[in-house]
Amino acid sequence: MTATATIVAPAGRAPRERRSRLDVRRQRWGWLFVSPFLIVFALFLIFPLFYAFGMSLFTTGLATGTQFTGIGNYVKAFTDPLFLEGMLRVLAFAVVMIPAQLIVALIAALVLDSLVSWLSKASRLLIFAPYAIPVVIGALMWSFLYSPRFGPAGTLFELFGLPAPDFLASGTVFYSLVNIVTWQWSGYYMIVIYAALRSIDPAIYEAARIDGANGLQTALRIKIPMISSSMVMVITFALIGTLQFFTEPVVLRNIAQGAIDAAYTPNMYAYSLAFSYSQFNYASTIAFSLGILVFAGSFVFLFLTRKQSGLK
């Protein structure tokens, strides 16, 4: 398994033989195979991106009509407290949520890897189960559980004579959201990490054992470094997902309007600008800015971790 394509230069370009007429004909087949995807790619990724950028350069006013305003919308966006607060909030989510998911997933995977029993098989399935539940439904379920009207919190805390905490107050809703996402995704990340652990050659553990390494040392010094490329992948996906946070806060907003405003995350802000206020130009600016920031963020992350991930 070595053929990982790299970001900069996909492997396997070494010319193996002289180009013959056959090769030229085969080139055409290559194009035929990739073209259906390329059409969709152009129509639904490249074109919307450029279109959003184009839209963001114009401003539509009631009195003025549509006018070219250049980078005006970007100046507005990057001085717009609603957008900036949203960006900071998703960054805060990234800082709290990604480690939370990663730690749960990593520890679970390490324990599963060290334990072979029916229990470990069963718990692997159960921990993964939330991945099979649509994000909306997961968030709906938790919003019931958090709700002071239906939720079990009141009864549980009464047992100890304590007042139930309000999971949906503006101070706590952040952590309530962290909990939903951790619940939903840790199992998936666990499966990815677990599979990577299983692909390590067990002879290495044997060597470590002979050298006197204990379980914890083996985990920290051998297992984790050897799966760093999957860790980088998991973190990258979690990062991209977190920065475009949308579904969970939208669903929770149904019962926590006070704590979650319409501009809680940049995506929610763009959505409400477009569909509540019909400000499509400015909404495109926000969406495009978010896209660029996420792209740049994950690019920088992949660049910084290129040693660990094996991407060149």
Binding site: F37, L49, V111
Partner: protein
Amino acid sequence: MSTFTSPADTIDPLTSHENHSVRSRGRRRGGRRIGSSVFLVILAIYFVVPIWWLFVAATKDTAGLFSSPAFWFDGDFALFQNIAELFTHQGGIYWRWLGNSFIYAFAGGIGATILAILAGYGFAKYRFRGRSAIFTIILGSVMVPLTALVIPTFILLSQYGIINTPWAVILPSLLSPFGVYLMRVYTQDAVPDEMLEAARIDGAGEIRTFFQVALPLLRPAIVTVLLLSVVGTWNNFFLPLAVLTNEQLLPVTVGLNRWTALSNAGAGGEQVWNLITTGAFISVLPLLLSFLFLQRYWQGGLALGSLK
């Protein structure tokens, strides 16, 4: 010290791709084992309790939801009554939503998979001018947040008049750059060039070579990409929320969210909490059950992306 134990399950699907025939792992018996087991049980409870709650809640009527303990059944078992009510409330629109979800997920998922198989094979097995450059762009696009495309896609689709039709959800769902990446990496390893050459020398055309030689070898990756893209479309919320306003066309995710918003805002008559819980419960069953019965396929597959 640790003792040697069973050569762990040799048919574990996780390693089928890798094919480690015999694995042996050291472990310390006793305390650590119990500690690990207790840890796993606690973790499993955390992940399962909300699902258990959903099942219990689906068996209660609205009054029961408010009055009875959250994690245990109410006196009367109202599940079937709730299901019957799903058939009558708003003319049984719930089942329509569920059907829409199926159609969108399968049309989008299968379509995306077919495109990814073809493109992955093309990139892996043909050398054509511009291949590296195009593939680099596709790989980079994995980092573009797809939700950032929803609003421009909405504007574009409305200009072509396909907003508020099933196509507005299905067509953008065909896009799966990560699927193409997975298929390319997998094809490169799993389909030897020599085999393709042999087929060509035997006189098989490019299409026949693809279908009869390459395709059977790609099965594990196909299952994975199919699973990821079906789940992805089934999960999708932002896109249908933006491009669909006709209630008859909504997928079940958007529909249930709409009922929740109405129940929270509305007066007594609009509160359909029992339908929301029962509807949510029924809607998670197909995927939960498929994951349970298709373990063999996804356990190995989901990790493909991380293998090097």
